[in-house]
């Protein structure tokens, strides 16, 4: 591994961490699409900054771009407050307009602007190590490393200082207002951090992939945990992991590093989406199926409990009576048998003592409207789940 390769991975990892922190809060606050809006609408800010300073490396670009990001947020909120359109429409109206202004500004001055829209949108981290900072001939390292490192330090400092406030205002805005931290200040603070991070990251990974680095790790983490600190941790780890793996995949395919990092993020999210222990698709579908069978089982036991006559308890009759498909009724009867709830004698089903106890307890919970207790009761009685 050459030092340039190491530097690229380091920058990518720092970008991933710097994005993951505000990203987690954006996802929790249901404002994920704001990051998309900001990442596009900073374009006019960059262009105007370039016109003023005539230097692509000027810090003025970052300041103006971040300012445009905040202006976008304010505009979106203003339009939304008029009540003429919904919030998502407001977002969808503002950022393409801002982006168009940026594109036209570049096109109008194409001769003396060396700004490439491709570069703004897509970024090229592979060139980051060539743009270095020197101090009296002494090589201080790549410029992006300094930019994103500074932004990351500020973000972490803000996170630690205002962690409690952020947490309260994210989960209970009213409570936080009552406690005296203005939700508006925290909101705009978060938006400013998101804007600055987007600007700092865009020349490394490009505007659209900043969105991926903000949302995907946070969404992955949110499927795995509900604890805010753990969620921050998991999103940082998965962001850094994707950055490093993505770099080597890109190296292998000789393709865009940013694209490959995003693809790894996507694969990571997809795997979590399928296999997350509690919130994943497979777990959810399995739980739904289990619930369905267990509800059917309860209905079945209640029916048996209500009827002492033999003809009501005949296996064939049950199928007609409760109107189940053959498969469903077989699964329900099997489950009941496995759990020793019923015995079958000559096609006649009867409750065992355990089955009676279970049913009676269930009835008492249903009557007293304590249906949530049934879940707990199930875990006491069931040897096998549905």
């Amino acid at each position: 591994m050459t030092s340039a390769q190491f530097e690229i991975q380091l920058i990518a990892s720092l970008v991933a961490i710097a994005c993951a922190i505000p990203g987690t809060f954006l996802v929790l606050r249901k404002m994920a699409m704001i990051s998309d809006a900001i990442s596009h609408s900073i374009l006019p800010g960059i262009v105007v900054g370039f016109f003023i300073s005539h230097n692509i490396n000027s810090p003025l670009l970052i300041v103006l771009a971040a300012l445009t990001g905040v202006i976008t947020v304010v505009l979106v909120e203003f339009i939304q407050k008029t009540g003429l359109v919904k919030e998502d429409t407001a977002i969808g109206l503002v950022f393409p307009a801002m982006f168009s202004i940026g594109v036209l500004l570049i096109a109008q001055n194409a001769n003396d602007v060396h700004l490439d829209i491709d570069a703004v949108l897509l970024g090229e981290i592979a060139f980051a190590p060539f743009d270095r900072i020197y101090w009296e001939d002494y090589d201080l390292g790549p410029k992006s490393l300094w930019v994103i490192g500074t932004i990351l330090l500020i973000t972490i400092a803000l996170l630690i200082t205002f962690f409690k406030e952020l947490k309260v205002s994210t989960f209970d805005a009213q409570l936080s207002a009552a406690l005296g931290f203005s939700p508006a200040i925290i909101h705009y603070g978060l938006m400013s951090v998101a804007s600055v991070t987007t600007v700092g990251a865009f020349d490394a990974v490009g505007a659209i992939l900043v969105v991926a680095l903000m949302i995907a790790p946070a969404a992955t983490a949110y499927l795995l945990t509900e604890d805010l600190k753990k969620m921050l941790g998991i999103s940082i780890v998965s962001g850094v992991f994707s950055a490093i793996v993505g770099y080597w995949v890109a190296n292998f395919l000789d393709a865009s590093i940013a694209g490959s990092i995003t693809t790894v993020l996507g694969v990571l999210f997809f795997i979590t989406y399928l296999f997350a222990p509690k919130k994943g698709i497979i777990a959810v579908l399995h739980r739904q199926r289990q619930q369905k069978v267990e509800v059917s089982l309860l209905t079945f036991l209640l029916h048996l409990h209500n009827h002492t006559e033999e003809n009501e308890r005949h296996l064939d009759h049950l199928q007609d009576e409760i109107n189940w498909q053959r498969g469903t009724s077989k699964r329900v009867v099997d489950l009941a048998l496995k759990n020793n709830m019923i015995t079958i004698n000559n096609q006649i089903v009867s409750l065992t003592d355990k089955g009676k106890l279970f049913t009676e307890e269930a009835i008492s919970y249903i009557i007293s409207n304590k249906k949530s207790e049934i879940e707990e009761m199930k875990s006491r009685f069931f040897l096998f789940r549905g």
């Binding site: 994920a32 003429l84 897509l122 395919l253 995003t262 996507g266």
Partner: protein, 376 residues
């Protein structure tokens, strides 16, 4: 070049005519379908779909190995639909919210598309100039065949819209009720979504990935301000969309260095701004005027009620009083008194005022909600 010259040029110049027709049709169909997106609170879906189409285009290129609009279209359509259904899956099956799902699909699909595109670029036969156009769009690449495709899609979606009008409308405003009535909401939903994806995919070539969402939203958001009727909104949105296309093409064709896509979007944004401010009843300007009018009326009513309290102390309520008496109550002015005289609530005589019959009854009924509105 004058406006008249330009109009003759549109009719005589083949390229300009094709582009103008193409962008107008695109604007119309986007306005039409965008109305549904806006009303169903799926405004940003268009943004996600347009980004999600990228890997499809890249894969179509990888499989087919050449630039071909038709294969690109199919590829974009498939991956756009895939993205849309994944968004629905994420919001339905997990606790992630729709904004997260949209952002995820948008950025992940786009990133994957980028990976494929850069991979293709490194290949030998990489003539990917056409692929780049999908990112930022270039109306100049519109050909007559594209216009025919656009016209065909517009026609078909119009027919389907008319055919399933009732179903679309009821699904829009009350999905639960639609289900209970026995309509298959899934199929109606898939139908709308498919046409939306189709419109977006068709537009990518002209206005590009980033600006596509504005094409879809802006005409519809503008049209929403002018009416509360669905069909009127759709017609107005289609007209706004078409006008944005025509005007945008005109501006960019007559100026140097103005790409068509962004100009069209900015023209559409002007329509939105104009509608937000000047639309009757919903617009900000008329709302402000109404607000001020109400406030003025409130002031007059307040003055009237003070006068009524004073006049009540006399046997004859028409007995004149000095204006000076009102000085304790500060909410009146010469102008407001004059206005009250104009309403014939009071009569002014030099420094004296007295209530009229009309003003007296008005004051009695002031707190009776039913009469508050009309003060003629």
């Amino acid at each position: 070049m004058g406006l008249q010259d330009y109009i003759t040029l549109v009719f005589t110049d083949y390229t300009l005519r094709t582009i103008t027709l193409g962008t107008a049709l695109l604007g119309a169909i986007c306005g039409m379908l965008g109305s549904f997106a806006v009303l169903r609170k799926q405004s940003l879906l268009g943004d996600a779909i347009s980004h999600a189409a990228l890997p499809g285009i890249a894969i179509a290129f990888l499989i087919h190995g050449a630039k071909n609009s038709f294969y690109f279209l199919i590829g974009a359509l498939v991956s756009g639909l895939l993205g849309t259904f994944w968004i629905k899956g994420i919001t339905k099956r997990t606790h992630l919210k729709s904004d997260t799902a949209l952002g995820l699909v948008l950025s992940l699909f786009f990133g994957f598309g980028m990976l494929l595109l850069t991979y293709i670029q490194k290949q030998e036969n990489a003539n990917q100039a056409g692929l780049d156009k999908y990112l930022f769009g270039q109306a100049a690449t519109l050909m007559e065949s594209d216009v025919w495709i656009l016209a065909g899609v517009t026609g078909i979606s119009l027919l389907i819209l008319l055919f399933f009008w009732k179903e679309f409308k009821i699904l829009l405003f009350d999905p639960e009720y639609t289900k209970t009535l026995g309509f298959n909401t899934r199929i109606i939903d898939i139908l709308i979504t498919t046409f939306m994806v189709l419109a977006i995919v068709l537009g990518l070539q002209t206005v590009g990935v980033v600006l596509m969402s504005a094409m879809l939203l802006a005409p519809a958001a503008a049209a929403r301000q002018w009416t509360n009727h669905l069909w009127k909104m759709i017609v107005i949105a289609a007209v706004f969309g078409a006008l944005s296309g025509i005007i945008g093409t005109g501006i960019s064709a007559t100026q140097n260095n103005l790409s068509t896509g962004p100009v069209i979007v900015l023209v559409a944004a002007v329509f939105v701004l104009f509608s937000f401010i000047f639309a009757p009843s919903r617009g900000l300007l008329f709302r402000q005027i109404r607000f001020m009018k109400n406030r003025n009326n409130l002031k007059l009513h307040k003055t009237l009620s003070v006068m009524y309290e004073i006049a009540k102390t006399h046997k004859n309520f028409k007995h004149p009083h000095k204006i000076k008496i009102l000085n304790n109550f500060q909410g009146f002015s010469r102008k407001s008194l004059k206005k009250m005289e104009a309403y014939q609530w009071i009569e002014l005589n030099g420094q004296m005022w007295n209530l009229t019959d009309k003003g007296y009854h008005k004051a009695i009924n002031l707190y009776n909600q039913q009469n508050i509105q009309h003060h003629d």
